[in-house]
Structure formats: structure tokens, C-alpha cells
């Protein structure tokens, strides 16, 4: 896997997230918004959006995480054992516009799984989707409501999102595999 290009740096990521935070509160009443990060890298992104909405609107919106491992449709296709992590939703979903947050939107299967998790926890008013990068190649009829950057990719490429909390820096880069990834 070799590095092809860096497509976003920390400043660009921050600008994109600021815009998304504004878009979320433009579309929904801030006091009815809830943010849910999809593990792993959706979690720090949701945290940043939470801080920005608080800064812009003075509203402390509910914040949670979901782990979709148990809801995936490709469990037996993952070679090594996936690590199951906890789902933490400390609030009732009823009445909220729940914004799912993830780093990359690719096939859409992770988002489908995350929506199923939310359905099992309660009835949100709406479920919306915010992603930092939309790389295309959807396998399900899904689209994101808020997109940081659209990056047309070939199927040989991989989008790598790094988050300061987990990887020590904020960046988005594009890698190329030796062979097609599917």
C-alpha cells in the first residue's frame, strides 16, 4: 500500500467540520439535534462537531457512540477476529434528529448497520448522516446529508483518515493498493 496523495490537512478538516456543524443547525433546531459517532473514527469527529455546535449555538447536544460490529453483514468474511466495542447511547433517541457521524462513506454497509443499531435503541425523529469523506462506490441506496469532501476514487485506492485522538494527527490521505481491494 503506497501513499498517493494527502488530500486534507488539519486546517482543512477543521474548516469542513465547522461548515458541517453550521449546516446541521441550519437544517435542524439545535435543541433537538443529537450526535452519534460510529466507532472508531466517527467518535472523535462527532466530539468535534459537538464542541462546535456548543460554540456556535450555546447548546450542549447529546453525544453517543455506536459499535456496528454485531450488526455487520460480512462477519464471516473478515479474516481475523473483529474487536467488539461498547455502544454508548446515554439518552433516549425519541424526539431527536440523530446525526450519525463517520469518517469515510464507501459501500454504505457500515451506515446501514449503524441505522439498525439506532432502530433497536428507540425511535429517532430522523436519522441523518455526516461524513468527512465520500469516496463513492456505494453498494446500497444511501447518501450523506453532510459531506466534508467528495473524493472520487478508483476501487484500488484506500482513504485513510487520521484523527489526533487516535493517530496523533488530523489528516486525510489516499493510498493505492497493489491490487484491487475487491
Amino acid at each position: 500500500m503506497r501513499l498517493k496523495a494527502n488530500i486534507m490537512d488539519a486546517v482543512q478538516i477543521d474548516r469542513a467540520l465547522s461548515r458541517i456543524a453550521h449546516e446541521i443547525v441550519e437544517k435542524n433546531a439545535p435543541e433537538r439535534v443529537a450526535l452519534v459517532g460510529i466507532r472508531t473514527r466517527g467518535v472523535p469527529l462527532a466530539k468535534t462537531l459537538h464542541a462546535k455546535i456548543k460554540e456556535f449555538e450555546g447548546v450542549d447536544v447529546p453525544l453517543g457512540n455506536v459499535d456496528v460490529t454485531l450488526y455487520r453483514d460480512d462477519l464471516s468474511e473478515v479474516a481475523a477476529s473483529p474487536v467488539v466495542q461498547a455502544t454508548e447511547l446515554g439518552f433516549e433517541l425519541k424526539g431527536y434528529h440523530v446525526v450519525l457521524v463517520d469518517d469515510v462513506l464507501f459501500t454504505g454497509r457500515t451506515v446501514r448497520a449503524a441505522m439498525d443499531v439506532l432502530m433497536d435503541f428507540g425511535r429517532a425523529s430522523t436519522i441523518q448522516l455526516a461524513v468527512l469523506v465520500d469516496r463513492g462506490h456505494r453498494e446500497l441506496p444511501l447518501r450523506a446529508d453532510y459531506v466534508g469532501k467528495n473524493v472520487p476514487t478508483s476501487i484500488r485506492e484506500v482513504i485513510k483518515v487520521a484523527c489526533a485522538d487516535i493517530d496523533g494527527e488530523d489528516s486525510v490521505s489516499i493510498l493505492e493498493a497493489e491490487q484491487a481491494v475487491r
Binding site: R72, S81, P82, V83, T110, D116, D120, R182
Partner: protein, 334 residues
């Protein structure tokens, strides 16, 4: 087109995690066959499965479409119920067969029973059997994943794993920990699996019990042996009491249960000899007043009910890792 790679690449989160690369075993026949890394993966996975049982809808679709058959050739309420609920919370289809209702009473051999059930294409077989090695035998003859739910005096791996999870929650880890296992060690698959498991995780184990109920070569398993209960308890961080198998009657090699309680029963006075924060475990079902006093069993140091809820989480983790989470031989060959 290799779909396995799609999943891995898309989910960078899994590839990045060091433990995400541990491959779990194809069967769970015993602790002896597991590596330390596999045990830790299992405990970490189980820790997160505890949360599923707290949800408003206590069910996740992870094993939808998988079939689990529980074969219980020995009586069991706790373990069988625990495996049944674990399978159901993961959305698997669970069928339990017990010895009294099976064709074993008609004289069918284990191999024939296994072949017949195998013909119905289950994904996981959970078995309890009175003969040591029965689970390994089944695993050799079946393509389904086999989980040992207790085989004779050999192993009871899920019990050792739930004990390890309970100890880890109470003590934070295993390094430098001293665990005393008291009672009928010789006939106990729980003791055997626990000695192996705790040894692999880095705790030291001391065993004590009546000489007639100690195995010939307990030191070969890696445990220290004490004849006297008080010396085994001294400085122990965890006290694990074993069940006196009252139903074994004549084979018990004990003069009386009263005398047993006097010499090896865990009372509050005896427990005071153990470490200040020592916790008490018992695999159940308890014989109150035989191996453990009610004051201890129901006391503040008892983790006996935590063991039961951890048992459910551990069994969910085992079923999940065997059915969905790891590459089975047939798939990697395809």
C-alpha cells in the same frame, strides 16, 4: 474477487487494532488449546457483550441464520440456560437436547449421535459429556465448531473464562495475583481449566483439599499444593471454592459432609486469613454449609452472582468468535 479483503480494507478500524489481528481457534475444546492472546481477546470481547444485556432490546443480529445445538449428556441448568440465552441474544437459532430425551438412552453411540446432528448442518455444537476428551473427539469428527461445556474431569473452559473475567474486573489484572482453589480438585474440570487459564494469564495458583481429593500430580499443571486450608488462604487475593459433589456419594472419599465443612468449609473466620481485599468465587451450584457458609456466600466479598452474569457475556463472546468472528477452514480454502 476476494470479499474478505473488502471488509478488512473498508473497516480500517479493525485492521488498526493490534488485537483485531488475533485469529480465534476453530473450536473451544479446552483452555489448554488457547494462547494467552486468544484468552485476552475473548475476555475483551466478553467485556463489551455485557453492555448488550443492558440494552432495551437485548438482542443483536450478529449470528442471524446460524444454528447452535446444545447437547447436554449430563444434567445442567445454569450452563445450559446460559448457552441458550447467549445464543438467542445473538439471534442464532438454538436447539437444546438433553440426555434423558435423546436417543443416547436407546443405546446410540456418541459418534452416531454426532453424525446425525451433523447431517442437519449446525454451525456450532455445544456439548457437556461425562467422559473426558468427548469434546475433542466430537471436534475431530464434525465440521461444525465445537464448544466444550464440560467433559468429565477434563476441562470446562467457559467456566474458567468467566472466572477470569470476574477476577479481572475485581482486581484489574492477573500479574502478582495469588488465587487459592479449595476443595475436590481431583474430580474438578473447573479447577483444571482454572489452573491452566490463570497460569497462562500470569497469576499464581495454590490448591488445597482433603488428600483423597487432590490429584496425583497437581504440580504438573503449575499449581502449588497445600494440605492445610489455612496456609493456602494466607495472602490469597481470590478464594475459589469448589462444589463437593454430594451426588457422587460413594465415590466421594469423604467421611461426612459435616467433617468436610469443619476442615475445608469457607467461613468468615477462615476468610479473614486471606488478603484484606480477597474476593470469593464459586462455580455453583453451592452446597451451603458443606463447602461454604451462607454468611460468606451472601457476604460483601462474594462475587458469585457476578460470575453468572459474566458467564452469559463470556458465552456470547465464545459463540460470536467461533461463528462469525474468525475465519473457518472451509472459508479460507474457498
Amino acid at each position: 474477487m476476494n470479499k474478505g479483503q473488502v471488509a478488512k480494507t473498508e473497516a480500517t478500524r479493525e485492521v488498526d487494532d493490534r488485537r483485531g489481528l488475533v485469529e480465534f481457534a476453530a473450536n473451544l475444546t479446552g483452555i489448554a488449546e488457547l494462547s494467552k492472546e486468544q484468552i485476552e481477546l475473548l475476555l475483551d470481547t466478553a467485556e463489551h457483550f455485557r453492555e448488550v444485556s443492558q440494552r432495551p432490546i437485548k438482542k443483536v443480529p450478529a449470528l442471524r441464520g446460524k444454528t447452535i445445538v446444545n447437547l447436554f449428556f449430563e444434567p445442567s441448568t445454569r450452563t445450559r440456560t446460559s448457552f441458550e440465552i447467549a445464543g438467542k441474544r445473538l439471534s442464532a437459532d438454538v436447539q437444546s437436547v438433553s440426555a434423558s430425551t435423546s436417543s443416547v438412552v436407546k443405546g446410540e453411540t456418541l459418534l452416531d449421535t454426532a453424525r446425525n446432528i451433523e447431517a442437519m448442518a449446525p454451525d456450532i455444537l455445544v456439548m457437556r459429556h461425562k467422559s473426558a476428551g468427548a469434546a475433542n473427539f466430537l471436534a475431530r469428527h464434525c465440521s461444525a465448531a465445537v464448544v466444550n461445556a464440560g467433559d468429565g474431569a477434563h476441562e470446562h473452559p467457559t467456566q474458567a473464562l468467566l472466572d477470569a473475567l470476574t477476577i479481572r474486573q475485581a482486581k484489574g489484572g492477573f500479574a502478582g495475583l495469588r488465587v487459592a482453589i479449595i476443595g475436590d480438585i481431583a474430580h474438578s474440570r473447573v479447577a483444571r481449566s482454572n489452573i491452566l487459564c490463570l497460569g497462562k494469564l500470569g497469576a499464581s495458583v495454590v490448591i488445597a483439599g482433603p488428600p483423597t481429593l487432590l490429584p496425583w500430580r497437581a504440580d504438573a499443571l503449575g499449581a502449588e499444593v497445600e494440605r492445610d486450608m489455612n496456609s493456602a488462604l494466607a495472602g490469597a487475593d481470590v478464594v475459589m471454592m469448589l462444589r463437593v459433589q454430594v451426588e457422587r456419594g460413594g465415590n466421594l472419599n469423604l467421611p461426612s459432609t459435616q467433617e468436610y465443612f469443619k476442615l475445608f468449609g469457607l467461613t468468615e473466620e477462615r476468610l479473614a486469613r486471606a488478603g484484606e481485599d480477597a474476593v470469593v468465587l464459586h462455580p455453583g451450584p453451592m452446597n451451603r454449609g458443606v463447602e461454604i457458609a451462607s454468611a460468606v456466600a451472601d457476604g460483601p466479598r462474594s462475587l458469585i452472582l457476578d460470575q453468572v452474569s459474566n458467564g452469559l457475556a463470556v458465552r456470547m463472546a465464545v459463540l460470536f468468535l467461533l461463528a462469525g468472528g474468525s475465519a473457518r477452514n472451509d472459508e479460507s480454502a474457498a
